[in-house]
Amino acid sequence: MGARPKSQDYQASAAEQASASTAMAEYQYFKQKYDPLLQQMRDQSLTADVQSGLRGRAGADTMQALTSAPSYAQTQSATRTGDIAQAYQGQLGVANVAAKDIQNKMQTNVLGTARGQAADAQSGMAQASRLATSEALTRARANQEVAQAKVSAAGQVAGSLLGQGLENMSTRGGTASPNQFSGTFFTPVDAAGNRMSSPGSRLGFSKVFGG
């Protein structure tokens, strides 16, 4: 019969408790410090006007390149105005694309972090709760084996007791009936029908010491 497992044998080791506590502290710190910042970044990625700044810069670059040195000859050119318009359109397009790229990256970074955050919470805490479990399990298994050994020994003692008792009961002594006596479970009788109740007589009866 196996001994029942004891819950105290399966309690967390000190290392496991420290690990879980540290993980929980880090989690609380993250939620209080970084999670709000990530939500701020989310809102900024939706509302930040990156495009205006870049378009302004693109316009300034165009004008600086094409109109910083005006001359009389330029007033006579039929194509110069068209060139400025085309260049301005082209630069604005570049600015628009750059702004879109920045905005998309901001947004995907926020989402990637938010999604990674959920995944990390899943795997991190799981690891924390498993740390040092093997030590606790080893200790529990050892205790379980000791308990089972005790039960096994108790079974052997009980078996020996039962065997000896039955052996005692099978002893007969004395003359024929009605003066013949039988042993009881705890007390055998010798061939003469004497009850072996004292320790000395029992030792002599058992012949353990060659008596």
Binding site: S21, P36, Q39, T79, T81, K100, V110, Q148
Partner: protein, 198 residues
């Protein structure tokens, strides 16, 4: 504004976590890591749904329907023409250039033609850029989604493995207990038989 103003204190309290401040020299006691883990996992998902689900769906929609670059390029055609015309006019005024009506008409025609051609090119470039931007955004989103999917499947596989291990351990424990019981009974029985035989 303080960062704490953005704190989701309600959800922290729901998780049984302290909102009194950041502990600096003490660690929280986690009596039941399994339960803490379960609570955090559940709450993290609810936080994601509350704070980022709409944001994510907006990005997915944007990656498939955004035409803002093309729209902006169309708007810029008119802006560029007005700006270039203004520059020509101011330069002429600054130098006191007297252009003949034929010159003015020719300049206007050239500006209009160049602006139209530039606009067509701009819009076409914007179409290509828009497609690239949308494709890039969608690819990034798919990568994120695939990462989440991979992580979720791994998590589910781990849960399934744990469940199987528990089931196996339970079966083995039952078998071991039964074997131990039979062994003890057998030992007692065999002793009894030996004694009776004596």
């Amino acid at each position: 504004m303080s960062n704490l103003a953005y704190m989701d204190t309600e959800s922290l309290a729901e998780r049984g976590l302290s909102t009194a401040g950041i502990p600096t020299n003490t660690l929280p006691t986690v009596n039941n890591p399994d339960q803490a883990f379960a609570n955090i996992t559940r709450q993290e998902y609810l936080d994601y749904v509350k704070n980022y689900r709409g944001f994510e769906e907006g990005l997915l929609s944007k990656a498939q329907t955004d035409t803002s670059l093309i729209d902006q390029a169309r708007e810029d055609v008119g802006t560029a023409q007005g700006l270039a015309g203004g520059i020509a006019s101011r330069t002429a005024s600054r130098y006191g250039a007297a252009l003949t009506p034929a010159q003015i008409q020719q300049q206007q025609l050239m500006l209009q033609r160049a602006n139209t051609l530039g606009g067509v090119q701009s819009v076409n470039d914007a179409r290509i850029a828009q497609r690239e931007a949308n494709t890039g955004l969608l690819a990034d989103l798919i990568n994120i989604g695939q990462g989440v999917n991979r992580s979720s499947q791994s998590q589910l596989g781990s849960a399934a493995g744990d469940a199987m291990s528990r089931q196996n351990a339970f079966t083995q424990a039952k078998a071991a207990s039964k074997a131990q019981t039979y062994s003890t009974i057998g030992s007692l029985g065999s002793m009894a038989i030996m004694a009776l035989a004596f």
